[in-house]
Symmetry: C2
Subunit: 186 residues, 2 copies
DNA sequence: TTTTCATGAGACATTAATGTCTCATTTGTT
DNA sequence: AACAAATGAGACATTAATGTCTCATGAAAA
C-alpha cells in the first residue's frame, strides 16, 4: 500500500501546516497541531520548533513540485507545450508553490539556495519558451515569470474555494496567460 | 502645507506596517516600530494593540483605494476604459490592496463588511465590462476578478523590486490581462 | 498475551511578544 | 525665553507562544 488511508502524525502536521499557514501565516504551532488532529507534544516530537517545520515543509514542497513538473513534462513536443502541461500539475500543488515563494523573502539562505535550482530551471524553461514565440523580447522575463506564478496561484484559489476543478482552473490560467481573459473559458 | 516632509509618528507606523507586513506577515510590533523609526511606546500610544493597528490600516487602505479608483475613472469612455485607467492607480497601491485581500480571510466581520462595498463595486464594474466584451460568459466572473487582482499585485511587485516603473508595470498587467503574455511589453 | 511504541493530555519552565508606566529630552508653540 | 505636547528609552508586568517532561492509554508487533 503506497497510500495509507490515515496519514502519519508527521505527515498530518505537514499537510495541516500547508493549509493553515496559507490562509493565516501567523498561525501558532498549537493551531497547526489542532488542525492536524494531533497533540501539541507530538508536533514537538517530530519537529525541532517552528523553523525546523518550515525547513522540512520547504524541502518537501520543493521535491513535490520538481517531481510533478518532471512527470508532467514527459513527452512534451516543445517548451511551450511542456509549460502548458506543467501548469495543470502545479495548480494542484498551489499551496506548496505559494509556501515556497513566501519563504524566499523571509527565510534563511539555505532555502533560497535549495529552491534556486528549481527556480533557475523554470527561468530557463521560460526563456526557451520565449524563443518559441510564447512572448516577445519586449516583455521582461521577470514579468512573464511573476505573472505566470500568480495566475497559477489564482487558479489554485479557484480550486480551493471549489469554484472550479483542477483541470478547469488550469485551463483558465493557461488561456488567460497566453491569450488574455477574453479567450478564457473553463 | 498639505504634504509635510516628515510623516507624523502615526502615519510613519502605518506606512512601515504596510511595507513590513507585506514582506513578512509575522513581523512583531517591535519590528514595525523600528521600521517606522519610532519608539515602541509611541506605537502603543497611537494604537490599541495589533488588532487596532490592522483595523486602522484596513480602513485607510480601503479609503485610499476607493479614492484612487474614483479619481482614475473620471472621464472614462466605457467600463473597460475605466478598468484600464484604474489599473495604473491601483498598481501604485499594491501593498494596500494586498493587505486588504489578506485581511478578508483572517479578520473579523467588520473589515469584511466594510470592504465588501468596495468589492461589490468592483464586481459590478467587471460584469459591466464583460457585457462590453472584455470577456465572454464562458469565463467565470470569479476567475476574471481573482486573475485581475493577482496580475495587478504582480505588477506592483515589479515596481517594488524596481524592475519597472508604475506605468510600465500597469501596461504589462493590462495587456497581459486583456491579450495574454504574447502582447505584453513595457 | 505480553511487549513495545507512539500518542494525548496535562503540568511546568522558558522565552518572545505585548502592554503600561516613568522620566528625561526634544520639538513646536506662544 | 517659557511653556506644552510628543517622543525615546528603559524598567516592569502581563500574556501568549513555545519547549520539555511525565504518565496513562491504546494500537501494533512480538
Amino acid at each position: 500500500m503506497k497510500k495509507p488511508i490515515k496519514l502519519s502524525s508527521r505527515d498530518a502536521v505537514i499537510e495541516a501546516a500547508f493549509q493553515l499557514l496559507n490562509r493565516d501565516p501567523t498561525a501558532s504551532l498549537a493551531d497547526i497541531a489542532v488542525a492536524a488532529g494531533v497533540g501539541r507534544a507530538t508536533l514537538h516530537r517530530h519537529f525541532d520548533g517552528r523553523d525546523d517545520l518550515l525547513r522540512v515543509m520547504a524541502a518537501q514542497a520543493s521535491g513535490e513540485l520538481e517531481r510533478a513538473a518532471d512527470l508532467a513534462a514527459r513527452g512534451a513536443r516543445s517548451n511551450i507545450d511542456a509549460l502548458r502541461k506543467i501548469t495543470e500539475a502545479i495548480v494542484q500543488l498551489g499551496d506548496r508553490q505559494w509556501f515556497l515563494a513566501q519563504e524566499q523573502h523571509t527565510a534563511a539562505d539555505e532555502v533560497a539556495a535549495g529552491s534556486s535550482t528549481q527556480n533557475n530551471a523554470f527561468h530557463k524553461l521560460f526563456k526557451a519558451a520565449a524563443k518559441e514565440g510564447l512572448f516577445s523580447g519586449d516583455c521582461p522575463v521577470e514579468w512573464a515569470l511573476v505573472a505566470y506564478d500568480h495566475l497559477v496561484y489564482s487558479a489554485w484559489l479557484m480550486v480551493r474555494d471549489e469554484h472550479a476543478t483542477p483541470q478547469q482552473a488550469a485551463n483558465l490560467a493557461w488561456s488567460t496567460f497566453t491569450n488574455g481573459i477574453g479567450s478564457a473559458q473553463s
